[in-house]
Amino acid sequence: MGNAVSAIVHLHSAVALIGRFPALAGVDLDVDAGEILLLQGPNGAGKTTLLGVCAGLIGLSSGEAVVLGEDLTLNRRAVRRRVGLLGHDSFLYQDLSVVENLDFWSQAAAATVADGRAALERLGVASRLFNLPVHALSAGQRRRVSFAAMICRRPELWLLDEPHAGLDSSARDLVDGLMEEAAASGATVLFASHELDRAEHVAHRSVTISGGVILPQAPPAAPPDARPAAPTGSPSGGSEL
């Protein structure tokens, strides 16, 4: 466990509910600056929810979460401008062209249109695709455009949900290169992946999440319920009247 002050991501007993379902059931996680951390685990383990929590999109129902120095239990919005999230969804308007999307999202992120164009170039999106609507792109091309929309934000924390999915091998090399470059320049990368042989090659460290908790690194000595119990939600307000 890194110490809480210097950690870019610090989660302690984090419980997050999707509806009434505890997608995260008490997560402890620390990620240091410049680290590339691989998040692995079965489907439905809570990887996507964990990334959503780090991006300030999903609130905790109990526990601690400090990301980039911002306490997410107090304010989930401050962290958002400093992270980049690549989700399952494309985050792109299907009917707009590639450049129209990038122009909009770069301006929306308080970057410039030039940043967006540079990011497209960086991701190797061919200029003949620029004026095609996003729905006409192949899955891999669309993924590159989404990636470009993410990096034009110049995020300090990269949150990538299966960044390799649907990409050809040259694009995967490109993504790996981008992650390494980001980490070298001081950003931190947290990514979820099922493609372990490739992912473990890039990652500095990996943790396994399952059943909404991070599994211990060593062979499991402690039973899972030895974790600090999260108080079950008994909201304030009480039985007045």
């Binding site: 509806g19 379902f21 079965p42 996507t48 059943g211 499991p220 039973p223």
Partner: protein, 265 residues
């Protein structure tokens, strides 16, 4: 029934078996007294009105229910604003209780108004301004209840409902004004416009006891509905501790794809 040992040791009265308490029973008793007076005076003792005749006896029911409905919707509006500020379950439950009870009283109001219309005009419905306004507002709050009924995370549901509560309430004066101007062009007999301003003593007495009873019943219902809603939330919470345990156990049985429910987004 059995009083579980409370940590505070001093009050060892048994936990209530329903939504009643000493306060609500007292309130209920007072309300019943006023209702009894309203029945006796409204139906039997008070004389027919000089202009309305016996139909004033419908007005004795129409006015209290409409006031109760507005009181309930006012509760919803205040609670909605308070919820968005304080974000506590209390205001959410109070707001939804108000909406439900307001819809109840508005429905009754409209039926009473239509019955009054049947006697006075010979038809149930004649686009009388107050009834028209009530009908529009009733449907507006039916939308609130429809959203309330959609299963969702409690906080999400509370926010949605608070937003609808606020959006709906600011419309009330606008609907009033629009309908008044609209019907003002062809003004006929209205429900309240025909009330004799110098009602007799027993008539006034019947009206005011019915009005008091209506408001007391509304408050009594609000308290009980609030508590029922609170109990329903606690009952749904019961599963939560167990869900957390089950969720953590998923990790020890490392079978992948043992997803319980919900989408992971």
């Amino acid at each position: 029934m059995t009083a579980t040992k409370m940590n505070s040791a001093q009050s060892v009265s048994p936990a209530p078996t329903g939504t009643g308490s000493r306060g609500t029973r007292l309130l209920g008793a007072v309300a019943v007294c006023f209702l009894a007076v309203a029945v006796v005076y409204g139906l039997f003792i008070s004389p027919p009105d000089s202009q309305l005749g016996n139909t004033i006896r419908i007005i004795y029911m129409h006015v209290p229910t409409v006031m109760a409905a507005y009181l309930a919707f006012l509760t919803t509006a205040v609670s909605s604003a308070m919820y968005l500020w304080k974000r506590t379950e209390f205001w959410d439950l109070l707001g939804s209780s108000g909406a439900e009870i307001g819809v109840l009283f508005f429905t009754v109001t409209i039926i009473d108004g239509a019955l009054w219309g049947k006697v006075t005009w010979g038809v149930f419905w004649r686009w009388e301004p107050r009834l028209t306004t009530s009908a529009v507002l009733l449907i507006m709050y039916l939308g609130y209840l429809a959203v309330r009924a959609i299963p969702a995370d409690p906080k999400t549901r509370a926010t949605r409902c608070a937003i609808i509560g606020l959006v709906a309430v600011v419309n009330i004066p606008i609907v009033h004004k629009a309908v008044d101007w609209w019907r003002g062009l062809h003004q006929g007999k209205t429900v309240l416009g025909t009330l004799n301003p110098e009602m007799g003593g027993t008539q006034l007495f019947a009206m005011y006891s019915a009005l008091t009873a209506g408001i007391l019943v509304c408050v009594w219902l609000l308290i009980h509905r609030f508590r029922a809603g609170y109990l329903a939330e606690r009952a749904s919470d019961l599963g939560l501790g167990q869900a957390l345990e089950e969720r953590r156990l998923e990790s020890s049985s490392t079978s992948s794809g043992s997803k319980v429910s919900g989408d992971d987004s």
